[in-house]
Symmetry: C2
Subunit: 417 residues, 2 copies
């Protein structure tokens, strides 16, 4: 943390921090709408300025002019592995351990099924209680299909205890989607291995914001999302990681043509490709994947350790500003008090959290709401300024003072909260 | 078929047909590169002129300015069902029977698994022998996962005979990918029902080109592809159809959050949404889906029966031109001789088919190759002119006369054939 005065922070303190911020130039690489303070990059990253041009080229030149030849001439066919390599560098994977394909949920299904098959005789899937819902839903769908297995849930702090020799695979979110709590990648992976279980991590809320060393931590399997901190655009394809030492052993059941050893031989029977490519399934959505590719290039220009350093500072300052400016207004910190134990987000509780979020959005401050009462603020260091935090917390104070929960139109839930 | 002279066809005959073609104005709605005759719209449809503007709007205005609010403000969240409704009109489904999601392969997995669960006690999945490989691969992946079932293959003409009371589901391609043979949607569905089996159709090579009445034929389940005759762009999302009468009964195992009855309640357990929405899984790729949406609008402007009439005429004339202009050059028709028994494509066999296709591509005529020896020509009536067929067949004759298989550089297989 920087040296900051002990008196309440002023605008000039924050402006100073922005002035000294080595990541400040990155903000111009995003098209951020005027008058908006965006605290939801952990849900949908903003538009990198390089994306419109790339997409225009992919659409008009590659699709429009090359037509079917684009698969070779512009190496569309190689995109899942090429973008996978880039994401691999962001998460500490080795070359050939990551591929971009399908959605996070579909990739979870593949890796869960592969894990059960690789651990015959074990019948338990261990998940974090109150983890990201779709993770558990995918386990439920798989277990209902295959039969003979059971789901075990344990609170995050009891996961290590809940491991035993019947656990085939443990599935944990690296950063908890609601509280922002950062889980112990190395320790929990080692605990799973101690019991002969595989460790499957959901990196949706950490990849691109929290440095990590998947290979060094001997993580077995992981999935993650392209549209949050990776800024790949709405519904960008997801990624999937399999440690090289497991790649020959693991097969997954969504055995589509693109994961075949020879996809264009049109053979009668499925033969899995060697390496990570066997986790491909159908034809990848090239437009969405090209946007993610360009967004990853931008992230790779930044130093991940500098990103994390700023993220910690943003988290600490946001917390301090809330204490200094919103005391007595009913807010409570949700999740760890130490920024180092959080991902790149901070969550606040308020009994009328939903109406407060709606009132903030009216003011141009965009966090999101997670039930029952959480105001979730993403702190993306690539484009968020320290001064933005001051302005956001001022809006938060004003919004709370106006008691927006008395306005009936802010009670009605919209489709996407 | 039009009245055509009995003498060999001339350019003026073809130009006359183009002049009278009611679909001719649609050609201008595509960005087709100059000097190219595109016979591969059954593999990747060309770029509709309205797509670049739509995508630019989705990227810069919707993603760029609305950010996370795009899910509500631009109804991204509704796209899978809205585009599904459009495709439903193209395939004779009723409202609420189609959703756009994932890839064709992933959708096959969902529906195959749902079908097995809906037919307990039956242990056979019947597929067309030599059908589209990924269809069979997906069956293999599923059966390997669930155990206790078997794959039965039968030639298309023996499928009805191969049905028995152990068949849970029969999976057939509506149009055979290589030969173009059109299967009997109504008859085979009825045959499956006679044995209590479900009929699952792969419409990848027919949707958007062959009119069909899924609901009237009482088809149970279907999947199809967004990037072939629907022109949705490279790797466009796929679609999935479930007859309304089966929707409450069927559940699928890729139980992701978007198929949940209340996706934003973040409940601890999965509850399938009512209706077709339960077949959604993860977050949809909005950029790719928006392109497909715009492409479907274009197709919906055309009269599907007029489309089929022109497709039949294109097929008959192409065949006749090959007979008239390429006799004795080693070509042989693959698939049915009657255009009415084909989809919107025609396939020719040649011992050196691969080199011939490469030589055609050099000349700006783009069909594709399917092993071992098939030159596959898509005949998309929305943008193909009769005069294009004359020019294409002239190139074919010239290419054959040059014996391109003597050129070593045309022997080497490229990544995507």
């Amino acid at each position: 943390m920087s040296e900051l005065p002990h008196r309440p922070l002023r605008h000039s303190d924050l402006a100073d921090l922005d002035h000294r911020d080595p990541l400040a130039p990155f903000r111009r690489r995003f098209q951020l709408p005027k008058g908006v303070i965006y605290l939801d990059g952990n849900s949908l990253g903003p538009l990198p300025t390089a994306v419109p041009e790339r997409l225009s080229r992919v659409i008009e030149e590659e699709w429009g002019r090359s037509l079917i030849r684009g698969w070779n001439d512009h190496d569309w066919i190689g995109l899942p592995l090429r973008v996978g390599e880039k994401i691999g560098r962001l998460i500490g994977a080795e070359s050939g351990e990551v591929v971009v394909t399908d959605s996070t949920s579909v990739n979870l299904f593949k890796l869960l099924a592969a894990a059960l098959k690789a651990r015959p005789g074990r019948s338990t899937v261990l998940v974090e209680e109150d983890g990201f819902p779709t993770d558990t839903y995918m386990v439920q769908g798989l277990l209902d299909l295959v039969g003979g297995h059971r789901l075990r849930r344990a609170p995050a702090e009891k996961l290590a205890e809940a491991l035993d020799d019947d656990v085939a695979v443990m599935l944990v979110g690296h950063v908890h989607y609601r509280s922002g709590a950062l889980r112990d990648l190395h320790g929990l992976t080692a605990a799973a291995h101690h019991h002969g279980a595989l460790a499957l991590w959901d990196l949706a809320h950490s990849a691109g914001a929290v440095p990590m060393e998947l290979a060094a931590c001997r993580v077995d399997l992981a999935v993650g999302c392209g549209y949050k901190f990776l800024n790949g655009g709405p519904g960008a394809p997801a990624f999937l990681y399999v440690a090289r030492r497991l790649q020959d052993e693991l097969t997954q059941p969504l055995s589509g043509w693109l994961g075949h050893a020879d996809p264009f031989a049109f053979e009668a029977d499925y033969r899995p490709a060697p390496g990570i490519a066997r986790h491909l399934c159908g034809t990848p959505p090239i437009l969405s994947m090209a946007a993610l590719d360009t967004a990853c290039d931008l992230l790779l220009e930044a130093d991940l350790e500098a990103l994390r350093a700023k993220s910690l500072e943003l988290g600490g300052i946001f917390q301090r500003l809330v204490e200094e400016r919103c005391a007595g207004l009913g807010l409570e910190l949700a999740g760890p008090a130490d920024p180092r134990q959080r991902g790149s987000q901070i969550s606040l509780r308020h009994p009328h959290g939903y109406a407060v979020v709606r009132a903030l959005v009216e003011r141009g401050v965009i966090p999101d709401f997670r039930g029952p009462d959480v105001i979730r603020c993403g702190l993306a260091p690539l484009y968020l300024r320290y001064a933005d935090l001051g302005a956001a917390v001022d809006h938060l104070r004003q919004a709370l003072e106006e008691e927006p929960w008395r306005r009936p139109e802010l009670q009605t839930r919209q489709g996407v909260p």
